[in-house]
């Protein structure tokens, strides 16, 4: 019978974190930016069928980077959680913060107890209600971006956030061009420019773009079609 070697807990955690980070860095990045009508989520994704960005609930969207099968499983669990909660209580009671905390619990649990951590970074975004409807409820009158790491760390981001291996470099570029109250066109151009960097140009074929728009009514989530993306990106030079 072999005896397991003693490994310091610090080392175990570090190894797991490295493993997860490496897995995440293999995939491409994604940026979420607040604009005047809600939240724009723009992902670099050459596939037109395997989605990184999707709808969770009326005003909540999900986005993930890293290993597709893992974040897609989390996405479906999120849809189920939100739909069940809305069914047993009320649609108003479904919020991003509670969902983000649930995700954090799961990711943390897997990170510390399972053999392999999840190689994902996820985003839970919620668009604010119209100020008139929100009626001064401060949970509902601000757009929210929750960025959750592979180990369950939750970050409540303002204005924009970037997920993925090159997050820091992209976030730095996005910081330069971000301004509060941008239109959808401006926000999309800023996000794409930041994702591409100085030596590449991205076209709609390599992008997946979706918004949570206040003006859409109950179900705020909407995918922006490739043609429209090309239109917006093409109009830049004029």
């Amino acid at each position: 019978m072999s005896m397991p070697f003693y490994v310091a807990p610090e080392q175990v955690m570090k190894d797991r974190a490295d493993y997860a980070r490496k897995g995440i860095a293999r995939g491409r990045s994604l940026a979420a930016v607040l604009y005047d009508d809600g939240v724009l989520i723009c992902a670099e994704n050459p596939s037109t069928t395997l989605r990184k960005v999707s709808e969770i609930y009326d005003r909540i969207a999900f986005a993930g980077v890293g290993r597709y099968s893992e974040f897609d499983q989390l996405r479906i669990a999120g849809v189920r959680h939100a739909d069940l909660k809305g069914y047993s209580f009320s649609r108003e009671d479904v919020d991003a913060r509670s969902l983000a905390n649930q995700y954090a619990q799961i990711l943390n649990q897997v990170f510390t107890h399972e053999i392999k951590p999840l190689e994902v970074e996820i985003l839970v975004a919620e668009v604010a209600e119209d100020p008139e409807i929100a009626g001064g409820d401060e949970r509902r009158d601000k757009d929210q971006l929750f960025h959750i790491l592979y180990d369950g760390t939750v970050m409540d981001e303002r204005n924009f956030t970037v997920l993925g291996g090159e997050a820091d470099a992209i976030a730095a570029r996005l910081d330069e061009s971000f301004a509060e109250g941008m239109t959808l066109d401006q926000a999309l151009r800023a996000a794409v420019k930041a994702l591409a960097g100085s030596d590449r140009t991205l076209t709609s074929d390599e992008l997946e773009v979706a918004v949570l728009a206040r003006s859409n009514g109950r179900r705020a989530f909407e995918r922006i079609e490739d043609e429209r993306v090309d239109q917006i990106l093409g109009a830049e030079g004029q």
């Binding site: 989605r51 999707s54 709808e55 969770i56 499983q73 479906i76 669990a77 849809v79 189920r80 959680h81 739909d83 069940l84 909660k85 809305g86 069914y87 047993s88 649930q102 619990q105 799961i106």
Partner: protein, 286 residues
């Protein structure tokens, strides 16, 4: 509430009803029929709804009355709902289970769309509703029947389609129109006589309003327009642009025209025999 994560082997897939069961939120199972019949008169019932196919899609309409036996329990109950963007569902029968069925059906369609990433086909939606009606059969046997109508715009075939059900969950696609509920016989006849292929939006709305009016005229459980309280039947269209509820003002206006028309007709025709006229010489008021 537990976070709904499942192992691959026990995953409920895009089935929301199954998910609800797994989460332990299933509504209580109705007692077996041997447990004695519930007095059907004590249960609130909704009544007449109709659906008609027209040029751009389908129109669906329902009166607003709910009754418990001979009582009017609600005057403003809605029985026509959007099922999702391109379909509508209308209900007749026991109001409580019917509302629950609609809520679950709406959630099921949305849940499927979100989990799978694409919406069910119209046929798939119709079958789904049929299954829900079938599951409700034990309660229907106890006098709490729910009989819905389902209609929608089929984006693949580019036309409106409508479906009728029976209490056993039997699903019947109708080509032109369908009606269900206590006043359905009268409403259905009016639609049957007024329907023609290629009927337009304005005409078809007038037709369903006439159908509801005539149903309300003959059936005490069906409510007519109520200008005093400003309550009018719910009318909705489903076209390639999706579900749209016809504005209350438009419905009120069309009713006004219709009522003026039938009032004029009534004035021209003979009055009903007067009951006080007992000694009538003609003898035809036997």
């Amino acid at each position: 509430m537990r976070f709904p994560l499942f192992t691959p082997g026990s995953d409920p897939g895009p089935d929301f009803a199954e998910l609800v069961r797994r989460a332990g939120l299933e509504p209580p199972v109705p007692p077996s029929p041997t447990g004695g019949l519930l007095d059907p008169l004590a249960v609130t019932h909704g009544t007449t709804v109709v659906a008609v196919r027209y040029l751009d899609g389908v129109v669906m309409a329902g009166d607003r009355r709910a009754t418990s036996g001979n009582w009017i329990s609600h005057r403003a109950m809605e029985k026509v709902f959007p099922a999702d963007r391109h379909s509508a569902v209308a209900i007749a029968g026991a109001a409580g289970p019917a509302m629950e069925m609609v809520k679950l059906f709406q959630l099921q369609l949305e849940h499927y769309e979100k989990v799978e990433g694409s919406a069910l086909s119209l046929e798939g939606k119709a079958n789904q509703l049929g299954q829900m009606v079938r599951q409700h059969l034990p309660a229907a046997m106890q006098g709490m029947a729910v009989v819905p109508l389902f209609a929608g715009y089929d984006l693949r075939r580019r036309s409106g389609r409508l479906f009728q059900y029976d209490v056993t969950g039997g699903r019947y696609e109708e080509s032109n129109f369908a009606a269900t509920g206590s006043g359905s016989l009268h409403a259905g006849t009016v639609v049957k006589l007024g329907f023609r292929e290629g009927i337009g939006r304005g005409d078809v709305i007038d037709l369903v309003l006439a159908a509801l009016w005539q149903a309300a005229d003959e059936d005490s459980a069906t409510g007519g327009p109520d200008p005093i309280r400003n309550i009018y039947p719910v009318v909705a269209t489903v076209t390639s642009d999706g579900f749209t509820r016809v504005g209350e003002e438009e419905v009120a206006g069309r009713f006004e025209t219709y009522v003026a028309e039938i009032s004029a007709r009534a004035r021209e025709s003979r009055r009903v025999p007067e009951t006080s006229d007992l000694g009538g010489a003609d003898g035809d008021s036997s």
